[in-house]
């Protein structure tokens, strides 16, 4: 099994498309850093202008911690695309390329092949998150320094002390990883059914866009639906930066995401295990 996981990781590492995600993160985060370096103060003045009439905000609010928070919020839409771009191709790409039949007649069970691919996808997702963490938080702190972090909410503002931030980021990145694993599992699931690599990516993105739109529409009818949309729970990482932390909401959202992951993976596994390989 270890050999198979290594082989799948090797395939991911050998494909040029796998580096597009890392490159995209580097470019986006680099541009945000550059923009903040040149005009960050004005940007934050504009953002916090509502509160400047109520509070006296003094000191350096532009720091690496806040930049990392802004980056994480901005990348909520892009990161799933980058993940689906690779994970959506892992089974369907082999099916389309005819290489799936090269593997499926070997002395390993379909289950072993499936989970080797799935674990490799999880590792790739973790690498993306890790890379995002390094660029946004580590490089951000190197460029903009450490300090207290001000977090805007729809109904107010939270200040988190510098010594109280790192562990929150640790959990935030873990939740972000879980969110992206949900996307990876979803695209993986579609990939198990599809015979080309474009379909899973398109379906995955279309789902995220539709669910996000439904999630933002303030129409009472959708209020019944929203708790069941996985996109509703993917942004729960933000709650870790609020005071007090609503752990119950975070736990419920994480449990729902895990349920989705198990569901998508289970469906994909059963289909892959039983499907006829005709390509």
């Amino acid at each position: 099994m270890i050999k198979l996981i290594y082989a799948e990781l090797f395939k991911i590492a050998s494909k040029p498309r796998s580096y597009l995600g890392l490159l995209a993160i580097t470019v986006i985060v680099g541009l945000i850093h550059l923009a903040m370096l040149s005009d960050g103060k004005n940007y934050l003045d504009f953002i916090f202008s509502t509160f400047s009439q109520t509070f006296d905000i003094s000191g350096k609010i532009l720091n690496g911690n806040l930049i990392a928070f802004i980056i994480l919020q901005m990348l909520v839409v892009q990161m799933p695309l980058l993940v689906a771009f690779v994970t959506g191709d892992i089974i369907s790409g082999e099916s389309a390329g005819g290489t799936l039949r090269l593997l499926a007649g070997r002395p390993f069970s379909r289950t072993q092949i499936f989970f080797a691919k799935y674990i490799a996808s999880a590792v790739y997702t973790a690498v993306l998150i890790l890379w995002l963490g390094i660029l946004s938080l580590v490089v951000g702190r190197l460029l903009f320094g450490d300090g207290d972090m001000m977090v805007l909410k729809s109904d107010g503002l939270t200040v988190i002390r510098a010594h109280d931030i790192l562990w929150r980021y640790g959990i935030a990145f873990l939740i972000a990883f879980l969110s992206l694993m949900l996307i990876a599992s979803y695209s993986f699931c579609i990939s198990a059914f599809a015979d080309n690599s474009i379909t899973p990516i398109v379906i995955c993105m279309a789902t995220i866009i539709i669910f996000t739109i439904i999630g933002t529409l303030e129409i009472p009818f959708f209020d019944y639906v929203k708790p069941f949309l996985f996109t509703t729970h993917m942004i729960v990482w933000r709650n870790i930066f609020y005071q007090p932390i609503d752990w119950s909401e975070i736990t419920v959202s994480m449990a729902i995401m895990v349920a989705y992951i198990v569901g998508f993976t289970g469906v994909a596994w059963y289909h892959f295990k039983t499907k006829d390989i005709l390509s």
Partner: protein, 302 residues
């Protein structure tokens, strides 16, 4: 020892029946030809042997063990190439083989990989990306991955497709070498002459059914040919052969042709006989028995 035992294999895809009770056995050390028109069920049978497709009914035993319950053990002794040779184009041939070695179920050394690369004639190009390869080179790589783990049973689905004449000859020799090494080989083809040249046994499949199964030698009676003489005057020819030895070998006739069941050296003798008796011969053609057999088996079965 029976290497393959297929018993009443049935496979349906929704309402379409691809295999309808296919049964045949393959003995150890034989080259077994699977013959049939496109869509006859050859590839489906081979995919069932590799568990790429789950049969709807019937049983498959490989190495005298049920495939369903001994999959890992069985498939570690099988090498295969199904349809066209597809590989990871973004990797070199060597990397492809290294990668597939991980799936082989046994340890394959880099020395062995170098050895098979040389055996199939890809040395010097093994580090080039496969996407730069021609079809023939991909086919060679396909054969390298088939043999790299030294399998006992080799399954080749239409291995001649897309190869030039030289490639076909080389492949034929390669398969013969594998047989000499004691391998059992099952290959499908719609090129009749290839099956005739290399197979010991053959089965003709049509519309998902086995319509003929047996030894190639026995089925062909290779000495006999169906020779068609195109004649200027069939009536005159009929009268001149009435008192000759050729009458017993006359199989059929039309307004312009006479078909004889004769041996190859007799073609010239019969031609000479017609000339001597002033019967103009405008053309001679012959069809091999296998073609006759194939045509009759695949066109008349409903």
């Amino acid at each position: 020892m029976k290497i393959i035992q297929i018993n009443h294999l049935v496979k349906t895809f929704n309402s379409f029946t691809a295999l309808s009770g296919v049964s045949f056995d393959v003995n150890q050390g034989e080259i077994y030809g699977l013959l049939g028109p496109n869509g006859a069920g050859k590839s489906t049978t081979m995919r069932c042997l590799l568990s790429l497709i789950t049969p709807t009914a019937g049983s498959i035993k490989l190495f005298e063990k049920e495939l369903k319950t001994n999959r890992r053990e069985i498939l570690s002794k099988v090498g295969y190439l199904i349809e066209k040779p597809d590989f990871y184009g973004y990797l070199s041939a060597k990397r492809n083989l290294n990668l597939l070695a991980a799936y082989a179920g046994k340890k394959i050394s880099s020395t062995r990989i170098a050895e098979v690369i040389e055996q199939v004639g890809l040395n010097g190009r093994e580090n080039d990306l496969v996407k730069t390869y021609s079809h023939g080179m991909k086919q060679r790589l396909g054969l390298a991955q088939v043999i790299m783990h030294d399998p006992e049973l080799i399954i080749l689905d239409e291995p001649n497709t897309g190869l030039d004449p030289l490639g076909i000859i080389e492949l034929r020799e390669f398969i013969k070498q594998l047989k000499q090494q004691g391998k059992t080989i099952i290959l499908s083809s719609h090129i009749l002459s290839e099956i005739e040249l290399i197979a010991d046994q053959m089965v003709i499949i049509n519309q998902g059914k086995v319509v003929l199964n047996g030894s190639v030698h026995d089925l062909l009676h290779q000495d006999d040919l169906h020779v068609v003489f195109e004649l200027g005057a069939v009536e005159k020819a009929t009268s001149v052969i009435q008192t000759s030895q050729w009458l017993s070998q006359l199989e059929s006739k039309t307004a312009t042709t006479m078909v004889f069941n004769i041996k190859q050296p007799e073609i010239g003798v019969l031609n000479h006989f017609f000339n001597e008796n002033n019967v103009q011969v405008t053309g001679i053609s012959y069809r091999r028995k296998l073609e006759e057999l194939y045509m009759s088996m695949t066109q008349n079965i409903k």
